[in-house]
Point group: C2
């Protein structure tokens, strides 16, 4: 990178001016936690609001806000208690714990992504990887579950977890949400909220946190009608993609293709994913990231989450870390709904009517419950429920080929034979069918996006910092200064400050230091406009309005300020048209 | 109450139309957790934004957003690990656990508030209180800590807690925040965020939750300059108060006094509290609660939190439960800062300069560290730090009177004698002094406020429900309907719908059912305005605009809709002035 220390500059600015800093500093800090200060929390709220505006208000998506703490069954069903793990190894000598895959990468330069615990252990031993702290030998890696655990209520055996994603809130509420949108597919359900992952080794700063905010939505569609009607709007749009197919052939740079090509070539499997990936690209444009500094990288099968049939990470180029993921676009299929259906016993399928009733031949599973109970004991009910949502064709095919059907559920495999389940054919009249919707999930990391926005806004002009934040995200919208601290100027300036407050603007009043210093303080935090009250104001009620990026100034009647500012924020007028031009100064 | 089942009606509406419902319904629910649906989450965000607008943007208060999970030391310092408890009793027969004070109230009609565990146990036995489930005898009550516990990182011995209030975020960050406001008192720091209290017996609905959202701020001021300069604005305002003094004299109804009287009579001890209580009253007015349905009740010493020198609860009349707390106004003094100073070793005092340097006689504590160590072992450092923030006068007085000074810290008492600490007098020149700010804390429960807003907005007109939400809080701002589902009306209506979306409104499009039914659906969720596209629209580009509360209709040119709606929401024009009047229909 041309500027290797930009990260440090942004972090320093973030601390000094109150965007964010490490949590619990007076107690020596707690790795993986971040506190947002006055400017950061305003910026964060504006980013949330903008995301909601883009992906909820303007799409066929509803917003929800569900609980953070969940009973164990929820994450058992979703597979997180079984699969949401990191490989951890313990030093035999000092007892310290480490991410096994990270050590392998650091000491042996071998990627540990997607390796099994056994493979990891073998490679650690083969390459002589040791404890970075004391040089001791390492134990065989074990799975460490990243869920934060707690207990609910006065009975300590009632286990609960902090959610690692907001998505399960949408899945467990699917039935209600489907009713609320009056039973129509497709639709989406979104959530912005705090999530928790007990990372073994969180990184400094806002990139890998243990507590963070996710903005994501689950978009539910009929898998038999996977067409996205909005696709026509984006078919010609270009996406920079690095699909699995190319990665496997050794390609390291993304290719630029149109959405049409990406779908034709099978790079992107779900149309709705393609549509939302375009929206995500534009969203990042709005935060200041040009096309050439972002692309979508497909996760390889071993890297994908347990629920995903295809995942693209949207990555953005950052000064220190190269390309970093800011959003994930997973095709979760019907995995989650199916699992919650099996674990809760609630039918989460939706009824999709045919045009007219049909006589159809159907394969049906006939289960011998007694046999099932005898073979599988307390798992029998779960198996029964899973079979209800398993296509009979799949079972028939396996039984005829191998005489056994392997039913998989969150890490367990149950071997079913004709003894347990028979496949029978029957003719039935059907008015429609009950289906489980398929789901694509665009998921954004708010903390990273906030950092990305700051880094891309960070510019220097001479020895001064100008934070060129998108105007609609600026935490302070306008500053008001009296030119001098006397002659009634502060009183007049405070009056204008109060009137802008009343009009709904987020305003800062500042009367300390030279006017140049005050402009500089505002440039540094990205305040788009500054109003200065001077001696002419006392004569003709006009003020100086200054633009952050061009440092241009115009003269505006004080009474017209709210209207002028609103038009400027909406982009309806150019700054030059906002008033009488003045000579530019620093 | 005149309408005993209003609660039920509101809860039913909330579930049916998607404001909120119990979490994890498909798994049988989890008591104390609530999920907000599409309308509820929009309403919640608007309530948050309004609160921020009132108490942050328009006051000398900054917003922060700190971590939910905290290491143990934070809540050890704040006293929550020791004091944040409920009395719990276990049935000797069936093992079920109960709130001891609740059982006493239910079965013996005796208030358990503020009683010690011993007193509770004695009263339970005396009055023959039994297990409500099986009639078994009850064990001696024990303290149950309400903090949700977890562990941070791969070492399970590193204990963390979910915050039960957001306040500690402001206290642990006080130094940074003080620097960010450029070292000036008074100022406030606010936070809106999720909090967790592991209630033994959470109530149904949104009133007593285990996970909830708090909006609160800590207002820091110099205890030697406790005057509130804004007091003059509110001195004549009336407050309905039920102060401790009157409660003790058996008064049960609040008295109405001016702020000036409340301060004169000593009902309210801190001027800043009085000011913010008036603001809180007006805030509730804005949510639809008139003065006569709210008042402030002082908490008795036994009911107050461990950190508070005075607390008033703002209570609001609700249909089912009578008066329910919606905000608390605690004077936390310097308790929290003092405790974090002692536990972290960081000096959290701020330097307040005198006008000019003074020669003063000072009492100073001279500590014998060796003796302290010998007597108190690993507690010696804590004691040393606590002594640093203890007024020497207090120690001198106790030593001379009783020969011993009892130093208290979170439930422990350390007895110090002249052997440990001596008081010496010295003359020093001082340019100023280092003080710990005093703190008043207005704290609002967002979930309760949301429920209160719904209940006060809930009205019936004939057999229809009209939710008269404050217009600025309505989740859906405007609805667009085609009168008929043919002749190009839907196309025109969708065009108007999209143009309003582009203009930033939250809009719903609906074409199903009769127009009357569609109006009714919107009335029920509080949508202030509905736009109908009819045959005249196709001729002259005007639409019908309908008002939720009066059901009046006016004719407005479609192109002027954004401007007209904006003026209506800002209250700049009356509905009658919004266009050409039409005949009113249902």
């Amino acid at each position: 990178m041309s500027e290797p220390d930009k990260y440090q500059k942004v972090i320093e600015l973030a601390k000094r001016r109150g965007f964010f800093w490490p949590s619990y500093e007076i107690y020596g800090g707690e790795a993986g936690f971040l506190d947002y200060g006055p400017l950061g929390s305003l910026l964060k709220r504006k980013l949330e609001q903008k995301w909601i505006d883009w992906f909820v208000r303007r799409e066929n998506v509803v917003l929800i806000d569900s609980a953070i703490v969940a009973p164990e069954i929820v994450f058992k069903a979703s597979g997180h208690t079984a699969h949401f793990t990191d490989p951890i190894t313990t030093c035999k000598k000092c007892g310290r714990k480490w991410r096994a895959d990270h050590l392998l990468e650091e000491q042996a330069k071998i990627s540990g992504e997607g390796l099994t615990l056994e493979e990891l252990g073998r490679l650690l031993a083969e390459h002589g990887v040791r404890c970075p702290e004391c040089g001791g030998e390492l134990e065989q890696p074990q799975a460490f579950n990243e869920l934060f655990k707690t207990t609910i209520g006065p009975y300590s055996e009632h286990v609960g977890f902090l959610r690692p994603e907001t998505a399960q809130g949408m899945f467990v509420n699917f039935k209600r949400l489907y009713d609320l949108v009056r039973g129509k597919l497709p639709f989406g359900a979104a959530q912005v909220g705090r999530c928790f992952r007990n990372e073994i080794s969180p990184r400094q700063g806002p990139v890998r946190l243990r507590e963070f905010t996710i903005m994501e939505f689950e978009f539910f569609f009929n898998p038999k009608k996977p067409e996205c009607p909005k696709l026509s709007e984006v078919l010609g749009e270009k996406l920079r993609l690095l699909p699995e197919e190319l990665i496997k052939r050794g390609v390291e740079e993304p290719v630029e293709v149109t959405v049409a090509e990406a779908l034709d070539r099978g790079y992107i499997k779900a149309e709705w994913s393609a549509y939302f990936m375009v929206r995500a690209k534009h969203f990042l444009n709005e935060l200041g990231v040009p096309d050439e500094n972002q692309y979508f990288r497909e996760k390889l099968p071993g890297e994908r989450a347990h629920y995903s049939a295809q995942t693209y990470d949207q990555v953005v180029k950052l000064s220190r870390w190269g390309y970093v993921e800011v959003s994930g676009h997973a095709w979760r299929t019907d995995y989650d709904l199916k699992m919650h259906m099996a674990h809760s016993g609630e039918d989460l399928r939706v009824f999709v009517p045919y045009g007219e009733a049909r006589k159809v031949k159907r394969l049906r599973l006939k289960v011998d419950k007694a046999r099932l109970g005898a073979s599988f004991k307390d798992k029998a009910t779960l198996i029964l429920r899973l079979l209800e949502v398993t296509p009979a064709e799949e079972v028939a095919e396996a039984l005829s080929r191998e005489g056994v059907y392997q039913l998989k559920s969150n890490g367990e495999t149950f071997e079913l034979t004709r003894e347990h389940v028979e496949v029978v054919e029957e003719e039935v009249e059907e008015k429609g069918e009950r289906i489980l919707p398929s789901v694509v999930e665009p998921s954004f990391g708010l903390d990273r996006l906030l950092y990305v926005t700051l880094e891309y806004a960070y510019t220097e002009r001479g020895d001064r910092v100008v934070l060129r934040l998108p105007r609609d995200l600026a935490p302070i919208e306008v500053a008001v200064f009296p030119l001098m601290n006397k002659d009634g100027l502060p009183e007049k300036a405070r009056e204008i400050y109060l009137s802008l407050l009343r009009e709904g603007f987020t305003v800062e009043y500042d009367e300390s230091g030279s006017i140049g210093r005050r402009y500089a303080r505002m440039d540094e935090i990205g305040t788009p406009y500054a109003v200065t009250v001077d001696y002419q104001t006392l004569k003709d009620e006009t003020v100086t309005l200054r633009d952050r990026d061009t440092w241009k100034q115009v003269r505006v009647p004080a009474g017209r300020l709210p209207k002028v500012l609103r038009s400027l924020f909406r982009g309806e007028i150019s700054f030059e048209k906002a008033g009488e031009p003045l000579q530019t100064s620093g």
